[in-house]
Symmetry: C2
Subunit: 212 residues, 2 copies
């Protein structure tokens, strides 16, 4: 068994309950760590430095990019968002599974750079429930709902790139399901490359010895 | 959740204990069914019709090929070996997971034809243990051992095509691990295509409605 932690990307439809799912997983299992993103946008009321985000300015963010200090980053509406590399590497090295809660474009970048990362996509239990959550309580403007719909449609196009689709029906069960999927993912060849390499080398050495 | 069973291919190094693992899985969980291969080779002492193989002649085998009655087939040492389609489809349709215990070439053919099939590769717990099992009790000829080694080296080259590598250390634990991996595999997008399709259609329909 390779001992290093797994880099886990969690994405999913708006309203699928990703945030509470991640919190539940962290509460239940100490081998997970949540990566906190860095951003140049202003903190919103109630947001705390180092909890929701690391808040910084543009100059420092661009220095961090230049120093290869981010695992991935993106720009939305004039602001930068990114994943600081140091924390991710430190936690993975300590054997913890690091969770990034990011959207689909970021997820695809992560998979490209780290093929051994695990991509999970969270959905509500049914199409009806998804619609209900997208529409909300009927108090939101048509514009807000239209935007959410467009975003959900876009997200649904990328689902095949994910390793697993997780249905978030009951929170506790879903957290345990994610934990089992991470365990299963450890058995995929992409995450057992050292073991495979060892077997190949040993078989080659052995075969040469047998021929002598 | 899509209800149909999963087609499971089990391969692995000689001496990895595939046969006993499959038996243990069948004993513990009734939702698995073992596919019995058809062959034109002569039964060996103790082999029973319909248990180890369905024994048949070349003419009937070739008729079955022509009638598309096999899921996959191959020829070794002048004999045909193949997987009868009817049993596989009947069991999958009844929601059972059908196990094929076949070698790597057959496994790759299955994956190509059925992308939603699940490929498991079974190994002994360590390289040392693998060597021990390949060498046997020291009573076998160098030729036999050399052949096994060459075969193991060949098999090790194909491991990346498998979904999971299963380490067979303790039989009962390993059977439960396989069961959990099959459950995890149900969450992969390739096996949730109907759910994804439904969500996409519904989001499109919904988006059109919202624009009217």
């Amino acid at each position: 068994m390779e001992q290093k932690g797994i880099l886990i990307v969690i994405s999913g439809f708006s309203g699928a309950g990703k945030g509470t799912l991640v919190k539940e997983l962290l509460r239940r299992h100490e081998e997970y760590a949540l990566s906190v993103s860095m951003t140049t946008r202003e903190p919103r009321p109630g947001e705390r430095e180092g909890i929701e985000y690391f808040f910084t300015d543009r100059e420092h963010f661009e220095e961090t990019i230049a120093a290869d200090g981010l695992v991935e980053y993106a720009r939305y509406c004039g602001n930068y968002y990114g994943t600081p590399r140091a924390y991710v590497e430190e936690q993975l090295g300590a054997g913890r599974n690091v969770i990034l809660e990011i959207e689909i474009q970021g997820a695809l970048k992560i998979k490209e750079k780290f093929p051994e990362s695990l991509l999970l996509f969270v959905t509500p239990p049914s199409v009806e429930e998804l619609k209900r959550r997208l529409v909300g309580r009927g108090t939101e403007s048509e514009e807000v709902i239209s935007k959410r719909l467009a975003r959900a449609a876009e997200e649904s196009e990328g689902v095949e790139a994910y390793d697993y689709i997780v249905v978030n029906d009951r929170l506790e069960e879903c957290a345990e399901e994610v934990h089992r999927l991470v365990d299963a993912a450890r058995r995929a060849p992409v995450r057992r490359s050292r073991f495979i390499q060892e077997i190949r080398e040993e078989l080659n050495r052995f075969a040469k010895g047998a021929q002598v």
